[in-house]
């Protein structure tokens, strides 16, 4: 595949197609709609399933159904639509069927607006819906990374029979950037050991999240938690820049992390020992690496396009060792590098005026 200039939403759609998604179900919502529209065109061309659902509630339950049949299935939406899917998420996680969901986040709460935002962090990373579990959440910061993580999302979903979110925002969804698609993956049958395909020559397969007996449900939860522990231990991903000798590390995911990169470079140019840490997995949060950094740096500056959500994970990872401060913009306002630079500079000055940390 050649490098092409692609819009994030379209890239996400096409990457899913390359990854062998066999069924897409969705409902229009800005700033995600191009993803759905691309699927509306491409999936029928390829003889795959596309249904514009009557709502996000229906869409996620269609995904649930298709995934029960053992195929790669997905939906995409934006914040209010994601809220409507919470019950479905919980069923999917409890049933351990692999599903992929793209959230192109927008300004909230409520109807809010259609500008980029990162304020679904909590509802995606804590427990999407009721019950005890975390979905895997992958946050790209570029169109290329969106493509790469889309493929990874399906692989992780299948590997762990789990729900995986690709967490973008309006900016990534709307941005055009050169990027390269992976080769088209052949469609293979998966999950014959549990998928619903008809009980032909075998005992019936059943997919349910019902466990009326409390000890049985506790056992299910223990199994889930054991799986999540493995994911937690093995799937933490992050990227960093200029952290080697950094005294101050800026932490930001997705768009905020990428914008911060420019601010960090600027600060470096002005002689400040500043680095950038960008979580790629929001859950599992890359706390191992961040904890290690906490031993080295004097402070973290968390930058988010919300009022401070991931900061909790940073504080947990930092474990009270170093101060964690925050810079955020909300409601669809995208921070510019200049303002992040100012926040870095102010904090850095404060650090300089304090006794150095051993």
């Amino acid at each position: 595949m050649a490098v092409e200039l692609m819009k994030g939403n379209v890239a996400l759609a096409e990457a899913a197609i390359c990854a062998g998604v066999q069924a897409y179900f969705g409902y229009p919502i800005t700033p995600q709609t191009e993803l759905l529209e691309h699927m509306a065109k491409r999936m029928p061309e390829l003889g795959r399933a596309f249904v514009q659902a009557e709502s996000e509630v229906a869409a996620i339950n269609m995904v649930y159904g298709a995934a029960c049949a053992g195929v790669r299935a997905m939906t995409s939406s934006s914040s209010p639509g994601i809220s409507l899917m919470q019950e479905g998420f919980s069923y999917i996680a409890a049933s351990e069927v692999p599903c992929v969901v793209v959230d192109v986040m927008r300004g909230g709460p409520g109807l809010g607006n259609i500008q980029p935002s990162q304020s679904d962090y909590f509802q995606l990373t804590r427990s999407a819906g009721h019950g005890d579990y975390h979905a895997i959440a992958l946050a790209p910061a570029s169109v290329q990374e969106a493509i790469d993580l889309m493929g990874l999302a399906f692989d992780l979903a299948d590997k762990y029979r789990h729900l995986v979110f690709v967490v973008a925002d309006g900016l990534i969804g709307q941005m055009m950037e050169p990027a390269e698609l992976p080769p088209m993956q052949p469609i293979t049958r998966r999950h014959d050991d549990w998928a619903l395909t008809g009980a032909d020559g075998r005992a019936p397969h059943v997919i349910t999240s019902l466990q009326l007996n409390a000890p049985d449900l506790e056992a299910l939860n223990q199994r889930l938690q054991a799986k999540l522990r493995i994911i937690h231990d093995t799937e933490q991903r992050s990227t960093e820049m200029l952290t080697d000798d950094a005294q101050l590390v800026v932490v930001g995911f997705g768009t905020a992390g990428r914008i911060a990169q420019t601010a960090v470079q600027q600060a470096r140019r002005e002689g400040m020992k500043v680095g950038l840490f960008r979580p790629i997995t929001l859950w599992p949060f890359p706390e191992k690496r961040l904890s290690a950094l906490a031993d080295q740096v004097s402070a973290f500056l968390v930058v988010e396009m919300n009022t401070g959500q991931m900061i909790e994970d940073v504080r947990l990872a930092a474990g009270g060792q170093v101060p964690v401060t925050f810079y955020g913009r909300t409601g669809g306002v995208v921070p510019v590098p200049e303002e992040i630079y100012d926040a870095i500079r102010d904090l850095y000055r404060k650090l300089q005026s304090r006794p150095a940390r051993e």
């Binding site: 490098v3 200039l5 800005t30 900016l171 941005m175 055009m176 914008i259 990169q261 420019t262 590098p337």
Partner: protein
Amino acid sequence: MQEEIIFAGFGGQGVLFAGQLLAYTALAEGKHVTWIPSYGPEMRGGTANCTVVVSDEPIGSPVTKHPSIAVVFNNPSLEKYEELVKPGGLLVVNQSLITIETHRTDITIVRIPATALASEMGDVRLTNMLLFSAMLAQRPVVSLETAQEVLLEKLGARKAEMHALNLAALARGWELGREATPASESA
């Protein structure tokens, strides 16, 4: 080298396409590039603008407070972006529709009567091409030649006449851009 260019105007003036042409051209020249629209609340009409970052290095932020170049198609865009252009930057002004005065002296300002010229050339939709190449004339972010090639490719199966018109507009804009006495210098 990194340039941050903002194209700004009304919906329907070809603002987003001008930005995309720049992005595609930059890609053709092997540069790093990002293009983002600011998608307004309203369906259509209203404001349209986009930010293009072109760089030799991988690009960090695709947004900026202070672009190095702004190409403004109408009054509200001038009002908003004149202030923001980086010192030493470039402001390209659609003279035909912009009635208010500029006042920055620390940037290059060129005025092109683009809408009028486009009408003259027979299609008001050429406005964006005129402004685009005028900008290139002042700041060769990408080369005009590549831009011409890319444009033809994007126009694709359309009539030859269209191709010719667009190329003519690019050429005319380039000329005007080169000839233009920057306001900052004349001031």
